[in-house]
Subunit: 80 residues, 2 copies
Amino acid sequence: AAQGWKLIDGALEKTYTFPDFHATMAFVNAVAWIAHRENHHPDLALGFGRCTVRFNTHDVGGISVSDFFCAAAVDALLKD
Amino acid sequence: AAQGWKLIDGALEKTYTFPDFHATMAFVNAVAWIAHRENHHPDLALGFGRCTVRFNTHDVGGISVSDFFCAAAVDALLKD
């Protein structure tokens, strides 16, 4: 199960933190790769050392299995 | 003067739209390049076909010349 994700305003949301903007942007681009691959695109809010990822599914007006799948794929980017 | 930028909650803000996620991400990475070059990092909020850029200056608790300079540099990315 995806950890640290919260259901906020009808979307799965999690905030990741990073030491600097380079690391943040590297993460953002990795998330974009997953989004392209799965053809399922999150909303991202990012600043110097943080990125909030939000997944939801417009077609169902809420959360679908694709959201959980993509959330897990994003988490996997940060596995040791 | 930078066009289309609004002062919202103490930051210069502008939303750009794009035809797809690839174009949005290309823009995001070009903005990141400017941020690295100027060592002045915006907040970005992006989705499938849009990116909102927000510049402010924490040291002064509002807007500085760096914000206007970076706003113009971002606009210049989209010049014909």
